[in-house]
Symmetry: C2
Subunit: 207 residues, 2 copies
């Protein structure tokens, strides 16, 4: 299965390389290949080419670029679209969520990508973890929210391949809970001096 990673910043580069190492056929959709010398040149396509040849896509662009990036891709009917974005804006006090209670970034992305089977996931922790989850002794938790059961199963397998423990959080509107969780992670990392080297795991009581 070919995966097209849309965006090749820290998140898209890290996740794409980790999938490549796990044996997936990964391409990146980027506007200017010359900017990404660290990535295998033969795998850098235009966003539209990358999307056309892939069965699954990962949206890994900054929030303000998400709508335009999706519009550029051409038809996505029936394709799995993993939405790793977070609806972040910058205010005087640092980053904050721009969507929340009555909608979510995930639902907006679904509106901008008609026909795609959107799964919100890989948004709840930072780039330092996303491509490097295997550095933890216990698999970090990664929730998934989506309306299509089969797409969510496929997404879970891709999330597990990165070294995460994939956990179903319900339909896509549960992105309203997963984006606040991302914000908690971001604030711990950036505002509370914890840095990016931590993750959450799901544990059960000692027997």
């Amino acid at each position: 299965m070919r995966i097209a990673v849309i965006g090749a910043g820290h998140v898209g580069a890290g996740i794409g390389m980790a999938w490549l190492e796990q044996g997936h056929d990964v391409v990146w959709g980027v506007r200017d290949p010359s900017k990404y010398g660290d990535l295998p040149a033969e795998r850098l396509l235009s966003p539209r080419e990358a999307a056309a040849t892939a069965e699954a896509l990962l949206l890994a662009v900054p929030w303000h670029a998400a709508e335009a990036a999706l519009a550029e891709l051409g038809p996505l009917d029936g394709k799995l679209l993993l939405d790793a974005t977070n609806p972040l804006g910058m205010g005087a006090d640092g980053l904050h969520l721009t969507e929340g209670f009555s909608t979510s970034g995930g639902e907006k992305v679904a509106g901008w990508a008609p026909g795609a089977k959107v799964v919100k996931t890989l948004n709840q922790t930072g780039a330092a973890n996303l491509g490097h989850a295997r550095r933890y002794a216990e698999a970090p938790l990664m929730f998934l929210a989506g309306d299509d059961g089969q797409a969510k199963q496929m997404a879970s397998a891709l999330v597990a391949d990165l070294g995460f423990n994939p956990v179903d959080a319900g339909p896509l509107d549960r992105a309203r809970l997963l984006e606040p969780l991302a914000m908690l992670w971001i604030e711990q990392a950036m505002k509370h001096g914890r840095g990016p080297d931590f993750a959450l795991t799901l544990v059960e009581p000692a027997a």
Copy 2:
């Protein structure tokens, strides 16, 4: 230090008993002591008496009863008020959050308890864990949000006494992130077949 637990349902009974076992002076504020035969009778006071004699309080009543319960307590000036509630309503599809993006249950509680130093915490997991965090091999994560640094330190110590790993999440308005986290836990427990015997921990990469 005396702690008054307002409410003696599963949450209030469990947390209060756990604090008692850790050597704290705990009383419960309840309207009808005859309903709580499992709790030490000499420690069941009226809500107003309990509040008057305590330096710290735990609000552990259902959301719909929170405002009236606080109104009954008399002045709380300068006291620590741990808010363990979640702004939950019941809809056709089960429990949901009634507050969120632009305010939170924690901020509403602060409005209903003028003078109290409100710390949102002990809301992010269920009663099965709240009084029984020590059953986990690694201390489950418990965030705290509050505007008064000293009150939050005191609250952190009380949270740690229950066997949790207390983590500062910032000012009280971060309850807008901690209540969605509670909802995630609740939905995993109740809607996704996981039951109440799981928790989240904060981990760092293997050295």
